[in-house]
């Protein structure tokens, strides 16, 4: 099957194409070079006047696993706002703040997203995360395994074990949980909460292990660097939501000591303590630090006004913020000497000073960070807002008059505390293509994604040209997944099953002997049942194909 996409205007930053009008050829799910003139073209799409990009990639979206399912169970009233009726192709389910796996797959696809990464896979809960991802149709998936609050790791660090052994454990975890990266959430803080500590600054000691978050960050960034895992340590920093978190975020960046580090939903960690409300924007300082330190990448975690739910591994912060719950219900969990979670519904209001300023801070960061290759478009779905708000967010970035008009409607005191009104920058389509396609593929090590050069997976999105980016990005004309037309005019036309993306770094298997003894004494599952085999991954994933991305181990 040879498909020809004719004459679209291509935005493909990975191949330096900025609005180039050209044809694209697709065969067997991949993009191929122009065939011989006599080749039979099976299907032709006339894309004259249309805009073409690679499938979008969301590198931080909570789409599956225990805490997401708690959020779903908790919010029937929210689901009722967004019922998806069954069609000949799609099944009945619900959406909005905590959409079902089916709704998640449909809605992402309809918006032109073809890959989504679940950022908080608790290793002990990885099987469920993979089952949920397996039940999320069409899009490709992958997860980041949580480390840095698990007893085994903290114990190794407290005993001053060799970095090499820690690297083995990190690699073992990636294999066991079948993930593509490692995330640390509130380094040491989730564990400290179980010992009744209520905050943990970057240089503050955990009361039991006598370790600081800085040491944990240093060790884990080093481990991923040594193992050659493409994605750097994914960091949900200390002090989420706390005024003054801008300081600890800057210290967190420094803890990587120049090694690559990705700081996630940085908006929630960019708050100062100035002004009448003792709550101010730290965006300028944060953006300056990002601009200066090329080892740092971030995603924003923009908030949008309206109802959502926050679902996080950071039970310490979620417990601290639980009194903001709206509606008034929340869940906090300690989990298996491994991790934790907290689920707190939130309603961000434009007339609330703090919420209004949070909104402005996120946009300030987007607009003040100069390099779109190191900043990614996220709402930390659903924590800042459901992912379905992305088209609106893109419009805020691309259209300064629209942005200013929205700014004028938020809490008056917040307007005074933000420089947003004086920022004239507008993102170009090319920059949007970088931050939603080329850059996330690059930072995750996905060679077949995020571009439309020869050899790439044929994950292609075709948009109508429209002066209003919100309309344009909400309903692409065509979405192709691996060369198959899966959505047309914002509606699903075919259901496929995406791949699951993982890494399998090399390591010394001797670590498992220690782990086995540890599991036998202290855990409540057998080590062999903690690990997910390749076959089991396929079973959990409903038959999803596993794509293993290469790691380049570095001598430590």
């Amino acid at each position: 099957m040879l498909i020809k996409l004719v004459g679209g205007k291509v935005y493909d930053p990975a191949n330096n194409e900025n609005g180039v009008i050209r044809d694209i050829f697709v065969q067997d799910g991949c993009i191929v070079s122009r065939p011989h003139d006599h080749s039979r073209i099976d299907e032709t799409y006339d894309l004259n006047g249309k805009i073409v990009m690679a499938g979008a990639i969301d590198l931080h979206t909570h789409i599956g696993g225990g805490k997401v399912n708690i959020a779903r169970a908790m919010l029937p009233e929210d689901h009722r706002q967004d019922i998806l009726e069954r069609s000949n192709l799609t099944r009945s389910c619900c959406g909005r703040a905590a959409p079902s796996t089916l709704a998640t797959g449909y809605r992402y696809t309809e918006m032109g997203y073809t890959a989504c990464f679940e950022p908080a896979v608790l290793p002990i809960n990885a099987r469920q995360a993979h089952m949920e991802m397996g039940d999320t149709p069409i899009v490709d998936k992958g997860g980041y395994a949580l480390l840095g609050n698990d007893d085994f790791f903290l114990r190794m660090m407290a005993a001053n074990e060799d970095q090499q052994l820690i690297n083995d454990y990190v690699a073992w975890t990636l294999h066991a949980a079948k993930c593509i990266g490692i995330k640390v959430v509130n380094p040491g803080g989730i564990s400290a909460f179980k010992f009744n500590q209520r905050k943990l600054d970057v240089d503050e000691e955990h009361s039991y292990y006598r370790l600081t978050p800085r040491q944990i960050l240093k060790t884990l960034t080093r481990a991923l660097h040594d193992l050659g895992v493409p994605h750097p340590l994914h960091v949900h920093a200390s002090n989420l939501g706390v005024p003054g978190s801008d300081d600890s975020t800057l210290i967190t960046m420094g803890a990587a000591e120049g090694l690559p580090i990705h700081i996630t939903h940085i908006q929630f960690h960019s708050y100062g303590t100035e002004g009448d409300y003792k709550f101010s924007s730290g965006a300028a300082r944060i953006a300056e630090a990002i601009n200066k330190n090329s080892n740092v990448s971030v995603d924003v975690g923009q908030i949008m006004f309206g109802q959502t739910v926050t679902a996080s591994g950071d039970n310490m912060s979620q417990h601290r913020n639980a009194h903001h719950a709206n509606p008034k219900k929340w869940v906090v969990m300690d989990i298996e000497c491994d991790a934790g979670c907290g689920v707190v519904p939130f309603k961000y209001r434009d007339k609330n000073f703090v919420n209004a300023l949070q909104w402005a801070i996120g946009l300030e960061i987007f607009l003040l960070v100069q390099d779109p290759w190191r900043i990614f478009l996220t709402t930390d779905h659903p924590n800042g807002a459901p992912f379905t708000s992305y088209p609106h967010l893109i419009k805020l970035l691309m259209d300064k008059s629209f942005r200013k008009s929205v700014l004028s409607t938020i809490h008056a005191d917040a307007i005074k505390m933000t420089t947003l009104g004086s920022i004239e920058r507008e993102y170009s389509l090319y920059e949007i293509a970088i931050m939603t396609r080329a850059a996330p593929a690059k930072i995750l090590g996905l060679s077949g994604h995020g571009h439309i050069g020869v050899g790439a997976n044929a994950d292609i999105v075709v948009y109508h040209t429209n002066d209003d980016p919100e309309i344009m990005f909400a309903k692409p004309l065509y979405v192709f997944k691996r060369g198959e037309l899966v959505a047309k005019d914002g509606a699903i036309v075919k259901i496929t099953l995406g791949d699951i993306h993982i890494v399998k770094p090399e390591f010394d298997g001797a670590i498992e002997k220690r782990l086995r003894a540890y599991f036998e004494r202290y855990h409540t599952v057998n080590l062999d049942n903690f690990k997910i085999s390749d076959d089991e991954l396929s079973e959990c994933g409903n038959g999803s194909r596993m794509t293993i991305h290469p790691c380049n181990k570095r001598p430590s």
Binding site: G64, G66, N69, R72, A73, M74, P76, H79, R80, I83, E85, R86, S87, R91, S92, C93, C94, G95, A98, P99, S100, L102, A103, L122, I124, N125, R127, Q128, M131, E132, D135, D151, F193, K194, F195, N196, H319, A325, K328, K329, W330, V331, V332, M333, D334, I335, E336, C337, V343, R521, Y522, H523, T524, V525, N526, D528, N529, E539, C540, N542
Partner: protein, 427 residues
């Protein structure tokens, strides 16, 4: 065809603890638990081992189908569903892959999905949906808890190895010796397992189960420093309750256990809510967590899959291609009583005694081989048991851990997912 086989580290699907350390042997086609079995697992393995060859045959209108005529029984079932205006899929005692197949078929048929334990599930879910909770999981309890308060449950009747696996373990991560205190509150059957290996007795505070809500309210008053006029609440002296609050406030990591199935009285959800609010309050200064026990009859497995795929929890209706959630109207009992459904599909693949409720409407049963019926269903298809006859996955009580189930023997019984999948192809 079954040969002698001894297996270790076998996962047991017969209660919400989902222990994965059993040893089993297979001798003369009989499966036996040879190590780490409990009363429930031994009984269930024995029952599922004593089936006759004739029990393996599907029946249509009570008549066994011929050799290799499973397809005929499935076609009959498909015919019943095709003719149904409002089917009910209940039982749902299966594994993850069985549930995946069932939700898909339910979508196709516009069925209502319910589990026979849904009334109990709903008691917990309504607390989650109204105010929430702070909870913990098994390994945290095993390593961290220095005070365990069991409210309205002895734990062991439904979860026999609770104390053995989570409480009287020798090794703990965070202290050489953990001085664990046990408190029972309620009308408790069996407090003997709460006696420590060193002979230390549990504190037992007896009261009527229905009064636990009042006791929880009083405990919250005491915790928050409010004055109580009465000298006793529900027969329990205030001093005893004050002592309990002081224990909880001074515990390093207190755990309050409840088993929703044991809190089976009108408005028990308010008792659970009060318990959970007490836990939340205690966390203002110390660490205390709830530990909900459940997951028997794979009810949490059914609910997990339903919730992630559809968004709503059980019981849920997919009638007219729209999901809707009404936990009080969509229960099997109430739907059958009201005549609101016209066909029943009942799935019960773990225990032969979990039979469908009596009903006059056409019924299809996917059940354990050897299941006995008062009224023979229109179609009966004996199915494999996950964890004995095929591999699969089941969720533990804490809903965090999904454990793999393994195949221990071979026979001709088809898996639920297989039957349902074949059925859906005919619609």
């Amino acid at each position: 065809m079954n040969k002698l086989a001894s297996r270790n580290n076998i996962t047991c699907p017969f209660c919400g603890l989902v222990c994965d350390d059993l040893s089993t042997s297979l001798i003369n086609e009989k499966l036996e638990v040879t190590a780490n079995g409990c009363s429930l697992s031994k009984l269930a393995f024995a029952q599922l081992s004593s089936v006759n060859a004739s029990d393996l045959r599907p029946r249509v209108s009570g008549k066994p189908v011929g050799d290799n005529e499973l397809g005929h029984a499935i076609a009959e079932a498909a015919g019943l569903l095709r003719g149904s205006a409002q089917p009910l899929f209940s039982g749902l005692m299966t594994d993850v892959s069985g549930m995946r197949a069932i939700t898909s078929l339910a979508d196709r048929c516009g069925a209502i999905l319910d589990h026979p334990n849904s009334a109990a599930l709903t008691r917990n879910l309504s607390v989650l949906q109204n105010s929430g909770w702070i909870t913990t999981t098994f390994s945290e309890v095993k390593n961290r808890a220095d005070l365990i308060v069991l409210v309205g449950t002895d734990a062991v009747t439904r979860f026999p190895r609770f104390f053995e696996r989570l409480v009287w373990n020798k090794d703990h991560l965070f202290s050489e010796e953990l001085k664990r205190e046990i408190v029972y509150l309620g009308d408790i059957k069996n407090t003997q397992p709460g006696v420590a290996p060193n002979g230390r007795q549990p504190l037992v505070i007896p009261c009527n189960q229905e009064k636990l809500g009042e006791i929880m309210g009083a405990l919250r008053c005491i915790a928050t420093g409010k004055h109580i006029e009465a000298t006793e609440i529900a027969g329990v002296s205030i001093q005893v309750l004050e002592k309990l609050i002081s224990k909880l406030s001074n515990a390093r990591y207190g755990v309050i256990v409840w088993a929703v199935a044991d809190l089976d009285f009108p408005h028990a959800e308010l008792t659970i809510q009060s318990l959970c609010e007490l836990v939340k309050y205690l966390n203002k200064t110390t660490r205390t967590c709830g530990l909900p026990l459940g997951g028997n009859d794979s009810d949490l497995t059914a609910n997990q899959v339903t919730t992630w795929q559809i968004g709503f929890s059980l019981p849920v209706s997919l009638a007219n291609g729209r999901p809707s959630y009404d936990p009080h109207h969509f229960t099997t009992t109430s739907l059958l009583a009201q005549g609101a459904v016209d066909t029943l599909l009942w799935v019960s693949s773990y225990q032969a005694q979990r039979t469908p409720p009596a009903t006059k409407i056409p019924s299809i049963v996917l059940g354990c081989a050897g299941m006995q019926f008062e009224n023979e269903p229109d179609v009966f298809i004996p199915v494999a048991t996950p964890g004995l006859d095929h591999s699969g996955h089941i969720f533990r009580s804490d809903t965090v851990v999904a454990l793999p189930l393994r195949q221990l023997r071979t026979n001709s019984l088809p898996a639920v997912a297989h039957v349902i999948g074949a059925l859906q192809k005919l619609l």
